[in-house]
Symmetry: C2
Subunit: 721 residues, 2 copies
Amino acid sequence: MRSRVTRAAVLLLPLLAAAAGARAEDGYELWLRYRPVSDPALLKSYRAAIAGLAVEGSTPTLQAAREEAVRGLRGLLGTEVPLVTAATRHGLLVAGTPSRSALVAGADVGEDLGRTGREGYVIRSTRVGGKRATVIAANADIGVLYGVFHFLRLVQTHQPIEALSITEAPRARLRVLNHWDNLNRTVERGYAGFSLWDWHKLPDYLDPRYTDYARANASIGINGTVLTNVNANATSLLPEYLAKAAALAGVFRPYGIRVYLTARFSAPIEIGGLKTADPLDPEVAAWWRRKADEIYGVIPDFGGFLVKANSEGQPGPQDYGRTHAEGANILADAVAPHGGVVMWRAFVYSNEVPEDRAKQAYNEFKPLDGKFRPNVLVQVKNGPVDFQPREPFHPLFGAMPKTPLMMEFQVTQEYLGFATHLVYLAPLFEEVLRADTHARGEGSTVAKVIDGTLHGHELTGLAGVANVGTDRNWCGSAFACANWYAFGRLAWNHELTSAGIADEWARMTFTNDASLVRPVTEMMLGSREAAVDYMTPLGLHHLMAEGHHHGPGPWVSEARRADWTSVYYHRADAQGIGFDRTTTGSRAAGQYFPPVADVFGRLDKVPEKYLLWFHHVGWDHRMASGLTLWEELVRRYYGGVEAVRRMRATWKSLEGRVDPERYEQVRAFLAIQEKEARGWRDACVLYFQTFSGKPIPEAYERPEHDLAYYMAVTKRYVPGI
Amino acid sequence: MRSRVTRAAVLLLPLLAAAAGARAEDGYELWLRYRPVSDPALLKSYRAAIAGLAVEGSTPTLQAAREEAVRGLRGLLGTEVPLVTAATRHGLLVAGTPSRSALVAGADVGEDLGRTGREGYVIRSTRVGGKRATVIAANADIGVLYGVFHFLRLVQTHQPIEALSITEAPRARLRVLNHWDNLNRTVERGYAGFSLWDWHKLPDYLDPRYTDYARANASIGINGTVLTNVNANATSLLPEYLAKAAALAGVFRPYGIRVYLTARFSAPIEIGGLKTADPLDPEVAAWWRRKADEIYGVIPDFGGFLVKANSEGQPGPQDYGRTHAEGANILADAVAPHGGVVMWRAFVYSNEVPEDRAKQAYNEFKPLDGKFRPNVLVQVKNGPVDFQPREPFHPLFGAMPKTPLMMEFQVTQEYLGFATHLVYLAPLFEEVLRADTHARGEGSTVAKVIDGTLHGHELTGLAGVANVGTDRNWCGSAFACANWYAFGRLAWNHELTSAGIADEWARMTFTNDASLVRPVTEMMLGSREAAVDYMTPLGLHHLMAEGHHHGPGPWVSEARRADWTSVYYHRADAQGIGFDRTTTGSRAAGQYFPPVADVFGRLDKVPEKYLLWFHHVGWDHRMASGLTLWEELVRRYYGGVEAVRRMRATWKSLEGRVDPERYEQVRAFLAIQEKEARGWRDACVLYFQTFSGKPIPEAYERPEHDLAYYMAVTKRYVPGI
């Protein structure tokens, strides 16, 4: 009897896992949702191919790899895969490094390992000791962990695993999340609750969630995390806070994730007791060296500093008449003996608004090319303004050949609807990475600038401003997590496609059932363009309400500075609309390399998606569609809302095929998205109509309210400020 | 084959539930943790006694009762109890009201129902249609839900259910949580993350957690929730925020929970456009009436207002030379037509510090007795200062016979170690409720004041300042949840004991295994006295650091006002220590009824636990122990730390018998508690030693640091401010 029950238990394990899942489908598991393979034939073949598991070695990282493999296979195969130490049967999964695992050493994958570097790996269907096996091999432990996650992903997405021959290595060295998290646990531009870091209870209590955060990051290859806000607080460099950061570093270390901190440039004054933070002052340099030594004393693998200086009120070297390079170098010298780096942000614009804001970072940084220490990366936002729904790529890409440029993407949706709008950002990331700078002729893509191949840099990286918080589902909504996922996947390999990433994410997050995967990925892939259309079509930008950036504010004309208004950017008048950045205007187009500058700068060549970014265009200008600019603008705004309505209908058609909790949240959020998209549309169309004086074509539904209504809307206690 | 698997599935259900639990033992389920009954014989008897379930009726509350019964029985019995509509077999569980359920109507419990009122219930082992059944009967739907929770609790705690004859009715009408939650989601004195209310996404998205919050409250009889902070924000009375509150009210309504809001007294100016908030101004009265009408328009069962006025900077009627009664009455008149109440806080003290702060609420309110409208309750903190680890009961209890006095307990541990100290508060609540005011002779306990029996009030209530937040385990730690639980249970029935409540909570939260229940409840029952000893023994009070109230600050002597310092309260000098509140001092003892005043006021009669609250006592004063006051004080401080060390040892002995996640968190928190208890002890003993000039007896370990060290400790970003 006992054995029969045991056997039944084995048969029931998938059911059991499913039941457990049903109980807790709150999104916490993210894409690491190891549900039983639903196709019986496929399950049988997987079970045959993975009948034993050998992950040799006892380092923390190899332990993590083994635990993940056990956890993943238990969930996916609904059975306990026995741990083995010898190749006594067919169907082994062997993972390890040749130096620590005799099984791996005997598997003849050495040649491929020559191409994987420290973090890469090989996954190969081969033979070990004469038995059929799948080998996950790497040069270092972290590669083994990455390889295990890759293999589990194959099973999760129902891929064939009989004839694997995979060689992977990351295309960028630093793949880093930037947390704009404050020490009081608020998160600037965070829409998923509050900061994961419970500073008050650190270092004494280590929330298990820190480990799950590390697992999620490692599963997509993210290898660094900047714990603190770029609007920095020197307190985070005090010994008591370093002890807290060190505790987090201890949790993250087995997962290959280094901790970084933001450095407040005036820290030598604020917590060091010095009278100056002048980077050329020897005492200041000595203070930073001592502070770096102190940090490395408690966090031996500390990654380095991220710095926002002389930007939006932050202190910096210019306070002392020094350059950004002089500022960055003093910190770089402090961390260099320990192997650390400095990520120095190029997001600067002058307090005096002397010049088109889109031009200022280029003007400031290009002349400094070659003046930075080798361990400095200049971190550049994807576009020249500020994470708008659509911007042309930043003109600095390609323009600083002697300096490693690091990409800064915003994963959190500051300007893209917070967590309640379904906006899949991979197409935005992809559009920027694929853009051709022409810096060294055709094919000089932004991706090649970033991955170091264009100008021969070894030190490379991408940063994503994180969208995770204390919300149970991490990112505020299920779909927002796709942006975290996509950032990590693209940082690892910028040649992946938005569609491919969406497909694997949807399979892992929901189900492999094509009748769900297809509509869900369609929603995702169209969503960014929809947001552009209902917020800022045709190259419009920076039309949002002031301060919290939530909702429309094209009429914003008074702010502390002109380039914080909307009218500064859209420049609508009776004649037309758009920012003339050609030779008759701010000449920002001229910052790009010649063929690009020519395309952007000429009204007959500029892609319509960038039209109003670069040109002031008459309302009656004829568009490719044959419509006038006004008609096309209206069509876009209405089309954006229609796209959201289609997403709602698509989602509704999936009711019953997604668990109720996640279904209902997405349903409610899409309703919010439609309401707010309509608000954007109506507010912008009505406002721009006051300039164009033209009617909304009869075919369209009328705005719900008049312009005065939208202008009077007040948003209170908007999160993320 | 199929049927064998199915049968195995039934056998495995407990296992399945256990596995699901093992995966998610993060405390989210609180005490509603329906794990399979572990004793096979008991399980068998329960299954026989509950072979069918009938909860007739389709109102939202009855649906909630049915769902809870199904969920609870499925978990506890590991089987699906069939829903039935007729008494065709023995072993039915029947729940309902006689008016909606023929089965209940036929069960002959009508006589008992005469004593249960609207919220009470009867649980009776009886016969229905000739078959053995357990009947849960109530006059109203909410009583049915309460009864179901009671019955489930019996099974959860492994009680016999064969011969039940239970008649329950709450001892107080309003059993309310006060959330000191701000609209930006910070929680004043909250140590469990941030506010549960996601105002930004309300009313569009209803987090499933709101329902679980309601379930938890209903399970312990809490029937009201004040959503907003007593330090109030008029914004919460704007239409857009009322719509959000209404959405929450909609979720809570089926669970018998009414929503209340805090009313900022100056709201008529701030959001009403009036020039004054003078309660005697007819326009102000009209504004509040219109506002109340508006609220009831969207929340028909709105409970009413909680008001903190003329206290710690809050606006109030005294700004216009009016009394608290005049202020309260204007609000009371506004809500009276709708059946609402006003809970007007007595926690006031003058800005000018004219008088012992412990006396001021009494002086202010006692003369107003009889001047309040019948729908006003004056809400009085348990003690006369401010939620200290120990205070004598508030002298207002018994002193306002014509006014319903509502108890205000603090469930959140502002002065009792935040969420990281294990301090079970039921003994504190119990101590206050059992205290004898002697207002109408011996036996005039505080409980009888509160439950209305002493002075014949129908309108009665208890409020608990909530300790719940976004932390996954609701209260920051497992044990902090016991305080939420205990508050609810005592608010329902103040005759329950701390020990009994701890026992049932531990069984439901962890296990019925006596080898765990016994040590856990021992820890709990000793914990409050331990905290008193390591923080403020022998009647000391208000020794904490300023502002955030975290950690010791007996030396605090400079603050915006004298009664925010510590020296104001302990008055240590070379002669002795303590606040003389006798006839030679502030005469606060004289505010109590004669026999109590006499006890408190005489050095030879005062219980030592209140000694330094009422008396300034010489260092060499001989204590009951035979030790001098100094020696006794030192002994208490050291004893408090020793008690924490014993708790740590006890918990360690339970390793492996609690799931790893909860075990580890409690382990880490107890380590924090010991560290901080030592900090309190060393800081206080060293500081008071500067006055006593006496040594710490040889037998004790030396303080870890010198006094200067403790005085220099700076706490940064302490939560809950």
